[in-house]
Symmetry: C2
Subunit: 356 residues, 2 copies
């Protein structure tokens, strides 16, 4: 394990400038059969693990997200209160901090970075939690979007370890429509000749910006755009939002191959692919022992509420609680106060409720 500080400023404890930790996984054999050598899991922690090791929470990142981009839900007085809980935010493989196409040495770099599954991601997070921290029980696993997918995966992979789950704006299995939406993002990015099948030296600007523009229509709802709610986010026109927020989002330290690696993980996410589940998503959902609050966004266009209603139907102890409003998928993105409050309230309620 090593400590990484992006700047020398040791005062920072949150944000992109705060030092973060890297857990050395060594050589790991992925679900695909490929070996990822010298694999690394970057993570950040908030709060203190109590001596009994009974106050731990795992809160994985999402598509392209980094640990500091989860921090909006963490804080004193919040459900994820670092004064009460020890909150671990592991960075997803491919996000540029954990092992990724952009930071892996040849020959497994760039276009040759292997495919990674949700199961793989969670298996390595489990190693960190158990082997490094010696934690045997988690109070909660919680996450947005692909973080919600990892949340489900935790509950299926380690049913006796996870007491509660709160997946928001995500799913236990990537639906066919969601896969098609991602095909569009991928097609736009890879249509740029500068991408060069992954062997670029400079980022494929046009492809990243095209992918961003494709994503823009999906990330927020029709009503969000009708009501020009991007104004609340500080943008002055629709084009200003497309460039400033969306293109900015895809350029902010992101890497094309990293995005494609995570996209593959997303397209192939399915708790039914957990060993022992026979490819059966319903069987996997039924195996979950954790108490769940499942929170789709009312107008989420690629993780629609009906899909999560289906999942809850197959879970022994889960409640469906839709996030109201028109922010669509980004209801879970921490970009508006009322959705943040709604999610935080659910986290608080779930954490104080008995787990069985």
């Amino acid at each position: 394990m090593s400590e990484h500080a992006i700047t020398g400023d040791e005062e920072q404890s949150t944000g992109p400038l705060a030092p973060y930790q890297v857990y050395e996984l060594g050589d790991v054999v992925l679900q695909s059969g490929q070996t990822l050598r010298d694999a690394k899991l970057a993570y950040q922690t908030y709060g203190t693990l109590n001596p009994e090791k009974t106050n731990a929470i795992v809160y994985p990142t999402w598509y392209s997200g980094r640990h500091w981009e989860n921090e909006w839900l963490i804080g004193p007085g919040r459900g994820l209160d670092p004064e009460k809980y020890f909150i671990i935010v592991p960075n997803m493989l491919g996000n540029g901090l954990s092992s990724s196409p952009s930071n892996t040495l040849a020959p497994a770099n760039q276009a040759r970075f292997p495919n990674v599954t949700m199961f793989d991601n969670v298996a390595y997070q489990h190693q960190l939690v158990t082997k490094h921290f010696g934690i045997t029980s988690l109070e909660l696993v919680v996450g947005w979007s692909m973080g919600a997918g990892q949340t489900y995966q935790w509950a299926v992979s380690y049913p006796d370890m996870v007491k509660r789950i709160l997946p928001f704006c995500g799913s236990s299995r990537t639906s066919a429509h969601n896969r098609v939406f991602l095909e569009g993002v991928k097609a736009a990015l890879t249509a740029d000749a500068a991408w060069g099948n992954g062997w670029y030296t400079d980022q494929p600007q046009l492809g990243l910006r095209a992918a961003a523009r494709v994503y823009a229509g999906w990330g927020f709802s029709q009503a969000f755009y009708w009501n020009e709610l991007w104004r609340e986010m500080g943008y002055s026109s629709l084009e200003d939002f497309l460039v400033g927020f969306w293109e900015g989002f895809f350029l902010d330290g992101r890497d094309a191959n990293n995005l494609l690696t995570m996209l593959w993980t997303w397209q192939h996410a399915d708790v039914g692919l957990t060993p022992g589940m026979d490819g059966d998503t319903m069987k996997a959902l039924k195996s979950i022992k954790a108490k769940g609050v499942v929170m789709p966004g009312h107008k989420d266009l690629y993780f629609p509420p009906e899909d999560e209603a289906w999942a809850v139907k197959h879970m022994a102890n889960a409640e469906l609680r839709e996030i109201p409003g028109v922010w669509g998928h980004f209801a879970g993105g921490g970009v508006n106060e009322s959705d943040i409050e709604f999610i935080d309230k659910a986290v608080k309620e779930l954490l104080v409720s008995p787990a069985d």
Copy 2:
């Protein structure tokens, strides 16, 4: 006016091989101020104009559609019955049959083809209907998607001429979200270097296929994909549908610049931009005298029913009638029997109802 037969087979009266007509508009000044020289309006007719010229219907095409792709709603026993009505299907400017980047002579060809508005399109259709056919009153204007937009435009541009309108899966003004969706399609197409800012000699295959894949997630609903309803359309797998239907759709005689021309028309569609309407969509909607049945698709992702509910609220004599089911935008695409029946029933009811 001239008659075009794609083959010498004069027996055909429908389909892509049937001869169709071209109305010579001459040099026309577009709303943008640009002159489109030797402008041509291709069209097809079905049935016979009665001596009183009181049985005419206009049924414009949609984004990339050609007149023969409207024929599924026309036929003996249907509402659009050629034994009763004289049905004119004008091809939209930019669709490859009417004046388009692909068929206009230099210097106004390819990337230099001027921007065309919905108002322009309908103004030239009006010339055909009035000057060529001598028709002064239309029983109905009806259309799908951008055809619905032209339907609204007819009712606003020529309020005393249009008795009834039936716009389905479309809108009177392209919403902001819809414009963003189209930005994604455009970005994907133009990310392909082979597009060359419109100066290609061969079609940009990768860009067209990327645009098709972006479109795929939007054209049908989440539930359509969940239920694998592409099987009903004859496809054997999701990838088979993406290649066979979607990529096939974007390659079937389509042209990249044509698609971009129509996309511009679509993004800028707004009946409020009709001269005299002061940019005020509501004022334009209020000016409509036609009796309307407005039919959004229940799960249409880019023309959602709530937008059409808004439009109907501002129209003097219109009913909102949602097309149920999960086929999304393609509820209006003539690809499944129950939606076809639902729309046809509405056409029949509207045609026999008094227009005021």
